[in-house]
């Protein structure tokens, strides 16, 4: 380490001696995990393949393009989802304006009748297109909706993790969630959701993590990204595997993309 860098480290330590040694608070850990998992970069584009697998290994597949943009200076986000497969929902698109503290604005475009409709958004806990993931699993849950406790710190595989327990403040179909959050990347590596009988009901695993450069000319900035993840319904044996391909951060997604215009005329150069 050069003398200059060493001096910088010492200065940094001196400026906040206690913060450097104490672990962040549980809510801060969850906040950082959300930032790493849902908010990386200014915007993000990916081709998403969801495979729905029944307990007896019958599969169904959904392929979609996901465009996502963080609204500057807020926790709000905008999503545009365009379905390529299966055939009966090909061309269907969703536009979601997500607000952590209130109901999302959501619109659907139904190509067969060329119609844009607002859809009720109270169902953030319901299944996303028939998968084991809920809308909330896809776009994140309000950090202040749960009470977070740091249970312990332990290794999961070769990764040092915080183990956080999150208990919903309002009645939800699960009673608590345990999350293993990587200390280095703050990505959730495993999440366990327990039901009212305190039995494991759903299990999330981050199966593949890829370092994705953040934009073409930002070679030094890298976002570790969960490019393969699984949500399993432990009780029924049904599971959904999700693969993110062609992930691009800071693609330059304009705010105008996230409007009714894109529903009515899908932005061809972004969705192909």
């Amino acid at each position: 380490m050069s003398k200059l860098a060493l001096a910088a480290v010492i200065l940094a330590l001196a400026a906040s001696p206690s913060r450097a040694l104490e672990p962040p608070s549980p809510a801060e850990i969850v906040e950082k995990a959300q930032q790493a998992f849902y908010y990386a970069g200014a915007d993000m584009k990916a081709r998403v393949t969801m495979t729905l697998i029944t307990a007896d290994d019958k599969t169904r597949t959904r392929v979609l393009t996901m465009l996502q943009r963080n609204v500057p200076d807020s926790q709000n986000q905008k999503y545009f989802l365009y379905f390529h497969e299966p055939g009966d929902i090909r061309g269907t698109a969703f536009l979601v304006w997500k607000y952590p503290e209130r109901d999302d604005d959501r619109w659907i475009f139904i190509p067969a009748v060329n119609m844009v409709r607002r859809v009720a958004a109270r169902d953030s806990r319901s299944s996303f297109v028939g998968s084991d993931f809920t809308y909330e699993d896809i776009s994140g849950r309000d950090v202040s909706a749960d009470t977070h406790t740091l249970l312990r710190e332990e290794k999961l595989g070769d990764r040092e993790c915080y183990v956080i327990q999150s208990v919903p403040k309002a009645a939800t179909e699960y009673t608590k969630e345990l999350a293993w959050i990587d200390k280095k990347t703050f990505l959730p590596l495993k999440e366990e959701y327990y039901d009212a009988q305190n039995e494991l009901a759903r299990l999330f695993t981050a199966d593949t993590i890829t370092d994705v450069p953040a934009g073409k000319d930002a070679a030094k900035e890298v976002h570790p990204t969960v490019t393969k993840r699984t949500m399993k319904n432990v009780k029924s044996g049904h599971r959904t595997e999700v693969r993110f391909d062609s992930v691009t951060y800071n693609a330059g997604l304009d705010d105008g993309l996230f409007t009714e215009r894109s529903l009515l005329t899908p932005p061809q150069n972004w969705i192909r």
């Binding site: 119609m115 607002r118 009714e260 005329t265």
Partner: protein
Amino acid sequence: MRIGPALWGVLLILAAASPASAQDSDAASEPKVHGFLLGALSRRTTGAQPARGNDGDPVLEEGRVRLDISGASGSGETFFLAKGDLLYDAVVKGSDVDLREAYAGHAKGALDFRLGRQIITWGVGDLFFINDVFPKDWESFFSGRPMEYLKLGVDALRGRYSSGVVNVDLVGVPFFTQDTLPSAERFVFPDPLSTVPTRHEVTPPARFSNTELALRLYRQIGGFDASLYAYRGYWRTPGVRLDNPVSPTRATFFFPELSVFGASGQRNISGGVLSLEAGHYDSRQDPRGDDPGIPNSQWRLLAGYQRQAWEDFTIGVQGYAEVMENHGAYLGSLPAGAARQDRIRAVVSIRLSQWLDYQTWKLSLFAAYSPTDEDYFLQPEVFHKVTDTFSATLGANVFGGHTDTTFFGEFEESDNVYAIVRFDF
């Protein structure tokens, strides 16, 4: 066969799709070809025979092959779509082509144009249409074909301007398309003109001065998706002119001039979606409302609310009303013994949908009841997605009413059950 003017749309599409006209530096991507096979079977359950029907109870017995071809230039700015069905219909024992949409489009910046046959859906109602002045195929819907066949394309030029201040859709329709109403080949209903020996129909000829214009201005206002609408064109269901009102020998069906002004709004409220819509129908060829062969001017009003009650279960309720403007003049003009409409036609509806088993099953019910007409319509349906490419639907259309002269009541003898299978490729 609905092809006619759309042919020029196809030609334009071919021109747009040819590499020479794609002025983008990147090569155009390969056109995508998709489609499905659809089998639809629907049978009347009442035993009644339509006036021009075949023996037995078939309403639908058809097989369709859908082809859907789309593509875009390298930049994505120029694009085209053509989709249509080749079909065999055993009820009328014939094959046909149903060209659903065929258009070429260009979108750059704030501007977006489409030329050709295109389906346009406006307004916020669920099966109640106020500012959606575009053609519908009610025969298709009431016989059990999938919902997408309720809408018919218009042969039109549509331009759109999008901005943060306001979005503008302007549609010019030079070629008139009428609604498809339940026909006497498939549906049983009383015909008040059954004794008239000669009938013919006149549609507005394709002239520049006959071009229909439809305008929609929309933006968000206070959490509402708000729209203003204007339309100048024609009623899509015919009026009638008789050569002699006492003992007619000739009935001429024609499409009276119509203008519509309206507004709609939709927003989230209490975890659900509130929809409001209103429109004024100005029947321009019957300004005093005293021509019994032309629909009266009227107001149309709609309020609806939809929300999810529990996981994968949504409930939607609507109240709808048509208020006749010159009811007194209308009553005074009716010939003796003719059926009378009330000044207000009100309808309430409910739609229940429950998805089950990872959204592979859907149970749904649409029910509409009119307290003024005292008639009703029910459509229960079970949909099962067997695999990603194969689905099956079973349902029924049930009509009833106090008299056989009201909108749903006249089809009391046309109840049917339907089965649909669809295979996507």
